[in-house]
Amino acid sequence: MDHIERFYIDEKLADIKKDGFLNYRSKELPTWCPGCGYFGITQAIAKACNALSLPNENICVVSGIGCAGRYPIFMKAYGFHTLHGRSVPIASGIKLANEDLTVFAVGGDGDMLGIGGGHLPHIARKNIDITLFLFDNMIYGLTKGQSSATTPLGQKTNSHTKGNPDSPLKPISLALAYDASFVARGFAGDLDGMQDIFMKAIRHKGFSFVHLITPCVTFDKVNTWDVMRNGYHPIHESHDVTDRIAAMRLAEDQRFFLGVFYQDEKRPSYQEYLRQIHSA
Amino acid sequence: MPKFDHYIIIGNGPAGNSAAEVLRMHDDQARVSIISDEGFPYYYRHMLCEFISGKKKEDALKVKPASDYKEKNIRMRLGQRVERIEPETKTLYLKHMEKVKFTRLILATGASPHVVPSLSRFEKHFSFMSKYSDALKVKPLLSPARKVAILGGDLVSLKFAKMLSAMKKEVTFFLYKDCFYPFELTADMASAIEKHFSGKKIKTFADIFPSRIESKGKAFEIETENGENLTVDIIFCFMGMRPNINFIQGSGIDTERGVLVDEHLKTNVSDIYACGDCAQIYNPELKNYWISVGWENAGIQGETAALNLLGESKVIKPSQKKILDVEGLKVNTSWWKEL
């Protein structure tokens, strides 16, 4: 057993090294709870970057505060761990200052939809070319289990022991309503699906909104890995990603879908648009 | 009387000012406003001569400081002309397109220089000396002038001629006997004046008048009726004064030469009074109107008008005849006081 297992890890490590995605991981070991969905997301982002051969030094990862906010520390790139809710404007500033950089804004559901929710419509309508990764675990993780903006109605949390009285936001519907030019959803348990979405999102010229369903294994005993695995379905191939109304219908469906909901490739990014009007 | 009365006085001379003071003294509630078309504050009119001769500075002309009006809360509207009075609505229409309401009104508009009809075609060549703005205009003209002609014969002209000769100007005086408003000079008086002037080296024409006046460059040429030609640098006209009542005509307030008032200085329209040089006052004993001019009289009349406006019933009496001595020249007057 001992022998076989060692052999297996070596082989695996060799595979991983050959693949190269580890080059996008920093030497810091993630401080997340074992089993946390964020590990998978981290891996998928690294893989997507690797697949796109992005130079590390040209990546800037900006995060807010929360368990998700820790993410830049574990990635080999320029990182900025900012304030609760403020990753979006700072990421925007970086992109506007240096268009050559690939800029990610990363944060949890509290970060992006609660305290920082006011920035979302505006980054979307400005179509500034950054990719937003919303790590949605439907709970405040770092502060230990209070209700968040996506906690289901009635779910018991540490702040609402009798049940959450607030209806949850619907991130995909919001992003579509805000007119984000790229809207997709991934699941932390679906590495390949995430990588595919991430590559499209990063390549997309304009604001990309990526909603990630991920369990908080420590503080959420309702939305577990199992519940999630069974609750999500890939978007059917026949879906036309340029059809915003169809995307909205999908977003409002009783079932939960994974994949790219919407993409408008024709719309110029903020900086492209500025160039157009100022050169005219 | 209703609260927040607005007493308006038109005219910022001695009559208007003493009226305003009396009104304020006896009524600390009402608004009191003086309106006058002259921009310069209340000043000693008779000092204008000294002002242009340089003996008196601008500040010395002012009768009182602005602070006095502020303390007494008397509003000053200077440089504003009343164009029309509408007694029915108690409204004054000002030239700068403002309507002002009064509850009671005192007319103290004084008088303006008069030009006899025979001379009116030459009027554009004349300089006058009846108000501050005249003095401002005249002052720079006078200092370089050597030869001066005076057409006139009123009291101011006598005073003025004397001053000019003291300034070493060469003065020619045309004496118009009949324009010594409000009465005419007697032959005796005229010859007394002539005599007096010859002593002062003032050339006097008593019965010969200019027949032609023309401007020649900056100077003027005067041709007399007997064909004499003379060139002067400036011509002054002093033909007596006419009450400033033009704007009152048509308002329903009775006027003749001046504003007609009874012995209480009331006009025929209720709540409107007149005093000072602009008023023509009825004397019940004489059964006739009389005119009273002069600084001091104007002040007394202003006070009387104000008191009567406030409800009293003071009678104004024609002042005693007195002999006025204009530098050795004796003139009988009832109004003029040497100031």
């Binding site: 990182g79 500033g93 900086q271 | 602070s67 700068h96 309507k99």
Partner: protein
Amino acid sequence: MADIDIVIEICGSAGEGTISAGEILSRHMSSLGFEIMSFDSYPSEIRGFGKCVAHSRISNQQILSPGKYTDILVVLNDSHSIPQLHAVRENGVVIYDSQPPAYHEEDKSIAGWMAPGMIAYGIPLHSLANKAAGSARGRNMVALGAMAALFGIDEEGFKTSIMKRYATKKQVVIDSNVNSFEEGYVWAKKNVQKLDHLTFSKVKLRKVTQNRIIINGNQAVAQAALDSGIKLFAGYPITPATKIMEIMGKELPKRGGIMLQTEDELSAIGNVIGAGFAGKRAMTATSGPGFTLMTEMTGLAVMAEVPAVVVNSQRGGPSTGLPTKTEQSDLSLVLAGGSGDSPRIVLAPSTVEECYESTCLAFYLAEKYQTLAVLLLDFFLSNSIRNIDEPSLPDKKMLSANISPSKTDLKDYRRFQLTESGISPRALPGTPLGMFVATGLEHNERGKPAYDSKTHLEMTEKRYRKLDGILKEVSPPTWDGPKANVDIGVISWGSTAASAHEAVLKARKVGVNAAFMSSMLLVPLNVDHFVKFSAACKTILVPELNYSGQFAAHLAQYLNRPIEKLNRITGLPMPSEDIFEKIMEIADTQKR
């Protein structure tokens, strides 16, 4: 040859050309060699309907304050102008329209409100404008013409200034304006008898040598930012800072930069910090309510060591306060706002010239010392228009101030390396070996979060050490006056400092032994100089535009002595006249 120092106010309602008349007057007088300081105000927030006042002080000598009393009030709108009369001098001049198209009621006519002693000239503005150009539009120009005639301003030159102002307009517009001016000039020459003694014609002027530009504080800040190489301006509209944003919106794209109008002030400063992180110069401009929001992120700039330049042009507070009034009551907020011990740079210019200078400094210092620099202006300074000598552009050293890591540094890169100066070489995103994570959490030299007491102390000290270097970069406070045995020392800051300086100069002229000190750099404060100044003065007076005496209180901790205060919260700039009076009052009590 006489001196002249007069204040002219033109008051009208929006659309009457009040502000442009003021502007033309100021420009023309400046071109003649006069010093000017102008200040336009719109006492109502909605400019479209309200009252406008163009206030200009014109002198052949140095001007440091706007002047409290008006010598000449030009009335384009009677009822708006009535409240302006309270500032007119006892023997001041009022010019008004004597031919409006309809009768005014008494309480709405300026003519009924002038105090005894004032000199009024009625000019038929309306009818002359109609005569000149067939419309009443040119009333403002008629008024200027009358003013030129009344106060001895050369007619032809003035016309040229008018033509210049409308140079981009159609010929009819130019002609109407010039003709209206002419009409006013001729009419006044002929019909107005001058009763005042104000004249510009007999004044000795300094030679106009250098190119003088006319700008206000906001424009100076914007120009300095452009000259300093700003690449991103992010802002959210708020009076009185909005104009900076508007200028940026126009000028930045021409230079390859971006003006970003954000959803709120949080986003504005966030974008600035982002751009700073990416190595580009960026700035935001706001007022008290916006700065309050920004304090969320000012600490991040300090902690993550990212350059950020923030303008706070103060208005009356607290809360939404008095949006169109001037005050200096955000000092405490700017000095101390935000969580934790967060050393920052605070620059408070006192004049338009200093607005330019301090903005250049702010960009340089923020970049070099990798921290937050706050520029503290106020409504008055933002809008106060001066003619100034063309300022000197920031030099190369100032334009590129980032200290980059060397190759050796990059071998084992420690972004937050402890250094003597407190400055750690900063790698910009895109540099291959310089990757690091900046964070608002306390961190070690490599940027890794660390909460142990040793690291926190070392890092706090490092951040504070930067202040020592900054202090050496900026010239010491102004000390005008004797260096010892001073009876009254006046210390002030911001726009009030200029008024205070003027008051001290005036007091010295009348024999008061007074001295003046102010510092453009408020943080770090050159405490030594202030202590020395204080030791040289019998009494210290601190005038400022707030109720509680915020700067006085700030100084007290260093000076350790009683301080006389002079506080105003009238919403108006600090009158040098009031400071002068206070100085005289103190001088009096000292004698007793």
